[in-house]
Symmetry: C2
Subunit: 539 residues, 2 copies
């Protein structure tokens, strides 16, 4: 037992250090997303690369190829699974579905288009090219279709923000489409896992699929509706425990239980975690839970990406390299066509449609989770798992240059919606603070102020630069925190409102300051000073 | 694999929820330490109690008795081991040994006395009462001796704080003695693990023990000295990675590596983690690392205590119940005599000596870690592991009433040290803030200000109420944060200094306020407003 634990600790150490370093390298030096660095770190240190080198005092390699379905130790995989649940729980917490649906409109159509087309394309390529896969309902084909659907919008959001295009028609549409994308991708996963569990590895007929799909979607819907209905009562119950620590812990525990339950009823674990997050996303403790778990997030999530990278077996990837390239290209085409066509039909010109398609290209955690579930349940092999990672890398690296170039040029939106004004230049102000800690604090207070005013807050990028989309009715505000600076951007007509909200913060801080300043002058300290002045016994 | 993971997630869920709820119950309702609640939660849900009940959809119990050295799944134990490393790494980070040694004096003598006497008492009772243990150097006897040495001063610190006795001679002495206690307990553990690994389960002769003890202590000393020497350079290197996330992650990764290495060279893992913390404790990033890992801490540490509780097998405890009671009584007597006698010899009267002895009674994480290592390496059985938990509970529950009663009455210190004034009533002021978040922020800023002034900051209670001991030369300040309130307490002659330090904070906040207030008036916004006003393209 001690021997296993020693190895686990050394493995975790190498995973944490390498993913932190490569994440840093990718994000700060190569200007690529941090998660790609973490993924690549896993490939480098994994059992199929450096991890296979024998280390004398360990009497073997640090990451021996584990003799099981997965090539890594179950103890280490336990950390990765745990990480995926944290990821999806927080992702659900950030969604606030009912509020979102009020803003969706155009975005939903485009999101659905992208999901449907890329699923069909992925499934089709698998049927056409993979030996042994002869039916559209073959579980392997379904998994490949599913993993090409989910967009990870972090990369896009950062580029939009840098180009000051977050509130352009394209920007708003992409961000809305991506939210729906997550939801749809997860429902799709539920259906696909249900099918693959029901059928083993033999394809089902369409009738059987219909029933399973209806069941999986029904389960998802019922859980979500019940969750949203129960959430306010649950929140009141949780508030009995003073201390956000306890509340956040129990809320996360509930997510773990629902994760476990959804696995036992034949769905994937992350679905339970996501539904729990979604249910709690509307409550007033959602933001607190998120902040409370952010320490866990930044510890576990790199482990997740790194461990996923570790499972890439390069030698088994070689025979399917051709397929992988075609599949990656199809995944790109799927999003371009699936999102581009509905964009063209809803008022964007070709330039705008291209921007939206390019913005929806990057893949992320959901793709990895789908691939990991496929691998661990034996539906896809090491070769197709490698293809999934390859697709993620190709799609995510292709997107930024396409996107940056596409935004040079005129407007991408031709039709005006009623009453809409032309895209106005935005007001932007940067606030710099003396320390990161102070900046974090002010940012949290600002977001809380917006939330109290019933704004819909969407954290669009969960990497180190914190990027938020804040919406209410016609108002759209972008808030970015980079180290010590907070940048707020909005249309000129809403500038006054934003200032007023920030003024509230100033007033609150002023109260605070007054209470501290009074301490300078002993006479003014009054009651404060008299309390607890004398202990019970005289000396 | 999926089946194992589902069980792991459900287990974690039950562990997290039950330990949060019982921790809350113990701390807020029963006024007992939170960790006792977490430990009891583990006993209730563990494989020897409720956890054994079969659950239909799991096709068996949630916590089946695992067929191995430990009764729980290795994946779950992995989380607990990880937690113990976080605990000891942070505990090392809080120690700041070189600065501490300047203040130790009296405390060290009393700390050493408590460790030596309770070790000898524990070892002796084992030899006298346990069948099959015939020698003082029998590994089981050594483990029992070791686990009765470590004091956990959190409970005592809270009582001292509530009684306004943190800076009484007894209070200062207890807190200093407890720091040394941790260090000595860990060195002792290193020696004992070394002996038990070298000898299997057969006792060694004294010569062999001497050599192993010298080696283990030497290893510890060399690592600590090298660590402290390397730390400044390492810190400079780490600072290359902007972002405390990355820095804290890598620092923790290094702790994991040293933990793994110290296990492979024949010491216990936690020693490497503790030494890493100790080495970094003097650097200017220590406080930041601690704050950054506090989310991990509050997630993992309840898991640790709960999992330890789960391993208590009540049926195997029954035959050794008599031994357990004697052992617990001896553990109490060991601290009372071991700390009380040196106290009497160094100027305290009987009352003071009793206070110090009672304050050193509570046991905590180090006891559990020692017992866990003994169990997992097979040196002690389930029965003696139960005895360890029993001792911890008895000692920790006995201490508070003794301590509270003992502080009614006159001074416990008779001899005045040169130049010392009689114990003065303390100045105390409470600051209340509008939100927990703001309070957290202000507390961190205050501590940073003290740290910048080269104060020695010691967090004496790591439970939810944050309790700090801040020292420099003759100055002693106590800072407690309870939810939205910060209480600062100090002697009247140092009040002005504390106020001045807080004034610095006020000034810093004033700057901040000014920069925010300027936003009210568009004319004053100046450069801020002009930046990023126009995007590249005109519309």
């Amino acid at each position: 037992m001690n021997h296993i634990m020693t190895r686990l600790m050394l493995q975790l150490a190498v995973v944490i250090i390498s993913s932190k370093i490569l994440g840093h390298l990718f994000s700060r030096v190569l200007r690529q997303p941090r998660v790609l660095g973490e993924l690549v770190a896993g490939m480098i240190i994994g059992p199929y690369a450096l991890g296979a080198i024998s280390i004398p005092f360990l009497h073997g390699p640090l990451f021996p190829i584990f003799d099981g379905v997965l090539p890594i130790q179950p103890e280490l995989y336990g950390f990765a699974v745990h990480a995926s649940i944290i990821l999806l729980f927080l992702s659900g917490l950030e969604t606030d579905l009912p509020t979102f649906l009020r803003f969706s409109g155009l975005g939903s159509v485009i999101g659905i288009g992208g999901v449907v087309v890329s699923f069909l394309f992925g499934d089709l390529v698998a049927v056409l090219m993979l030996p042994g896969v002869s039916s559209f309902t073959d579980p392997a084909a379904l998994f490949l279709g599913t993993l090409s659907t989910a967009t990870s919008v972090g990369i896009t959001a950062r580029i939009l923000s840098e180009k000051h295009k977050m509130s352009s028609p394209e920007g708003v549409t992409i961000l809305a489409a991506a939210v729906l994308d997550d939801v749809l991708g997860i429902i799709l996963l539920a259906v696909v896992v249900g099918i693959s569990k029901a059928s083993g590895s033999a394809p089902l007929d369409w009738g059987g699929i219909g029933i399973i799909a209806a069941k999986a979607f029904g389960f998802w819907l019922v859980c979500t509706v019940i969750g949203i209905l129960v959430a306010p009562k649950l929140t009141r119950g949780l508030k009995q425990f003073q201390g956000m620590d306890t509340i956040a812990g129990i809320a996360f525990g509930i997510a773990l239980i629902l994760a476990g339950l959804s696995e036992t009823v034949g769905l994937a674990m992350i679905i339970g975690a996501y539904v729990t997050g979604l249910s709690l996303s509307q409550t007033d403790i959602a933001h607190e839970i998120r902040e409370n778990l952010s320490g866990l997030y930044s510890f576990f999530v790199p482990i997740f990406f790194c461990v996923m990278g570790m499972m890439v077996d390069f030698s088994s990837l070689i025979p399917v390299l051709g397929f992988g390239l075609v599949f990656s290209a199809t995944a790109i085409a799927g999003k371009m066509i699936g999102c581009g066509l509905p964009s063209l039909l809803t008022g964007f010109n070709l330039r705008g449609a291209f921007r939206i398609g390019a913005g929806m290209l990057p893949r992320g955690e959901v793709t990895l989770i789908v691939a990991g579930i496929g691998l661990s349940s034996g539906v896809i092999g090491k070769d197709l798992f490698g293809v999934a990672i390859m697709t993620l890398l190709v799609a995510s690296i292709t997107a930024p240059p396409l996107l940056i170039r596409s935004f040079n040029g005129g407007s991408g939106y031709t039709r005006r919606r009623r009453g809409e004004k032309p895209e106005a230049p935005q007001q932007s102000f940067d606030l710099e603070f003396p320390s990161q800690r102070m900046t974090d604090f002010i940012r949290q207070e600002m977001l809380k102020a917006f939330k109290d005013e019933e704004f819909f807050i969407h954290r669009v990028d969960s990497s180190q630069d914190r990027l938020y989309h804040i919406r209410k009715d016609e108002i759209l505000i972008t808030l970015v925190q980079k180290d010590n600076t907070i940048s707020v951007r909005t249309a000129p007509e809403h500038e006054q409102l934003v200032r007023l909200l920030l003024l509230e913060e100033v007033l609150e801080l002023k109260d605070l300051l007054k209470s501290m300043e009074s301490m300078k002058d002993p006479d003014k300290m009054g009651a404060n000073l008299l309390m607890g002045l004398f202990s019970e016994e005289g000396v």
